[in-house]
């Protein structure tokens, strides 16, 4: 049943995410065109565009448009970075704590499966959003700079320093540990939000405010749990102990994440208050 829940969750969330990614792609291409024009490296391409639009290099309209596109690019990138966070909150509220909860909580699935499906899909979209932002930057660089971008990138990847790093086993181990750490952080973050909302929405009034209060309380408890580690191992963030530090972080994330999971499941099972 978890697979089916994930399938339907992806279906429900993809409507919003695809619109966001399409907007990001479109604004990236426009941003690249603006940069190519402003750096002067794309005179030939842009003069033909400018010719058709009757816009010259120093046209005021073009400059205003450039500023607008740059601002829009920055906004959409920030939105892409934060969107899933806000969307996950809204989705959890509507789908499990309000009217749609009458459907979701009467499907033959456990509360744990509902929480897991939401967490997995939110983490998945967050990672895809990060990749989309990276692709957007590459698109802007590739179109605005053109061939020299690829030549420089190729030279950079083949440089001695980078090659030594890529051929070192230690780099790949740290990269792997870092990846696991990011996944654990994201999972922990979403479960933290879900637990706060499950508790906050179990009361009748000021449910959003109560959720924020619970979020702060759970943050303090999480900090209290992790503080002794930093106190006991003051050198854990030095180069020599980097693996230890990463694994400590992963274990703490998993432990607090499991705690958040059980809090959420308990409140969905025993204190559900659909309105």
């Amino acid at each position: 049943m978890l697979k089916k829940l994930i399938k339907h969750e992806i279906k429900a969330t993809s409507r919003f995410m695809f619109v966001l990614f399409a907007t990001l792609l479109a604004i990236s291409v426009m941003m690249a065109a603006v940069m190519r024009f402003n750096t002067g490296s794309g005179d030939l391409y842009l003069s033909s565009v400018a010719g058709r639009l009757s816009i010259g290099h120093y046209n005021v309209f073009w400059e205003i448009l450039s500023v607008f596109i740059i601002l829009a690019y920055a906004t959409v990138n920030i939105a892409a970075g934060c969107a899933m966070f806000f969307y996950a909150i809204n989705r959890f509220r509507k789908n499990l704590l309000e009217k749609e909860g009458y459907l979701m909580h009467t499907l033959p699935v456990s509360a744990g499966e509902n929480i897991s499906a939401k967490t997995i899909v939110s983490v998945m979209w967050t990672i895809i959003s990060i990749i989309a932002i990276i692709i957007s930057v590459v698109i802007v660089c590739a179109i605005s700079v053109g061939k020299p971008f690829f030549t420089n990138l190729h030279n950079f990847l083949l440089s001695n320093g980078v090659q030594t790093m890529l051929n070192s086993g230690k780099f790949w181990i740290i990269a792997f540990e870092f990846l696991i750490c990011i996944l654990a952080e994201l999972m922990n973050g979403y479960l933290h939000i879900y637990a706060s909302m499950a508790v906050g929405y179990s009361i009748n009034k000021r449910r959003a405010a109560a959720s924020i209060a619970v979020f702060i309380l759970l943050s303090v408890i999480s900090f209290a749990v992790s503080a002794p580690f930093v106190y006991l191992f003051p050198n854990m963030f030095s180069n020599d102990h980097i693996h230890f530090a990463i694994w400590c972080e992963i274990i703490l994330d998993l432990l607090t994440g499991i705690g958040f999971y059980f809090i959420t499941a308990y409140f969905l099972n025993k204190r559900l208050n659909l309105q």
Binding site: M1, K4, K7, H8, K11, A12, R15, N95, K99, E100, G101, Y102, L103, H105, T106, L107, P108, V109, S110, N269, K270, R271, L272, L274
Partner: protein
């Protein structure tokens, strides 16, 4: 298989100081259409929500097929809440697919036939439909299951008389043999003709549980008249 499809043993539900269900004992057999009748705030919705596992009892227990409400009981209970609850962005055919995915007893063919008989386009998005049509779609999805217990909370509240007839007709035609349908309502006159048994509930307590025929015979009145007498303000 137990003879009883639903059983409440000393079921109590409190919201703070307010008692919504007060030590209820109730046994519902199979193959019947039962009216759960009571005025607003009598505990009908709380009882149905508790049987669905949407509310946890404060005391006592409710059993569906001898089991505490959970994943297993949800496989055999088909529930219609007292409000529009389906995701409004979804298309009707998407909802049919979703119900098919999750409920092994769901019959998509039955659902499509009922949708077609109402001249509703299955590719329409739910939010574009009128309130009455949405309620019909919800009922169609719920009644297209071959469930053992149907829990219908106010299925005819807030709809026009023609739609009421359609809803009652759909319930009679589609509930599976040997299944029990529990219908909560305070519109007794409309529903009386299809009921086998009635349960009167007031202030969270069961006032009466009897077969409609026995009740009419012993009291010499319609269920509606008896209801008005029992719940006279």
């Amino acid at each position: 298989m137990s003879e009883l499809v639903l059983e409440c043993k000393g079921l109590t539900k409190k919201f703070g100081r307010k008692t919504a269900l007060d030590n209820i004992d109730l046994k519902l057999g199979r193959g019947k259409i039962i009216g759960l009748l009571g005025p607003n705030g009598s505990g009908k919705t709380t009882l149905i929500k508790t049987a669905n596992g949407l509310l946890a009892p404060t005391g006592g227990k409710v059993l569906i097929n001898d089991k505490i409400p959970g994943r297993e009981t949800k496989k055999i209970v088909s529930y219609l809440p007292d409000q529009t609850y389906l995701p409004q962005w979804m298309k009707i055919d998407g909802l049919i697919e979703m119900f098919s995915d999750f409920y092994a007893d769901f019959q998509p063919q039955t659902a499509y036939e009922m949708i077609k008989s109402l001249n509703i386009n299955p590719s329409e998005v739910l939010k574009t439909l009128s309130k009455g049509t949405k309620e019909k779609v919800q009922l169609i999805l719920v009644m297209s299951r071959r469930a053992q217990l149907y829990l219908l909370d106010e299925p005819i509240g807030g709809v026009d008389p023609a739609t009421r007839d359609y809803i009652l007709d759909s319930i009679i035609k589609n509930y599976s043999e040997n299944a029990t349908v529990l219908i909560s309502t305070h519109l007794i006159n409309d529903i009386e003709k299809i009921l086998d048994e009635v349960v009167f509930i007031k202030n969270g307590s069961i006032m009466l549980h009897n077969s409609v025929d026995d009740l009419r015979e012993s009291e010499g009145k319609s269920v509606d008249a008896i209801f008005r007498e029992v719940f006279k303000c």
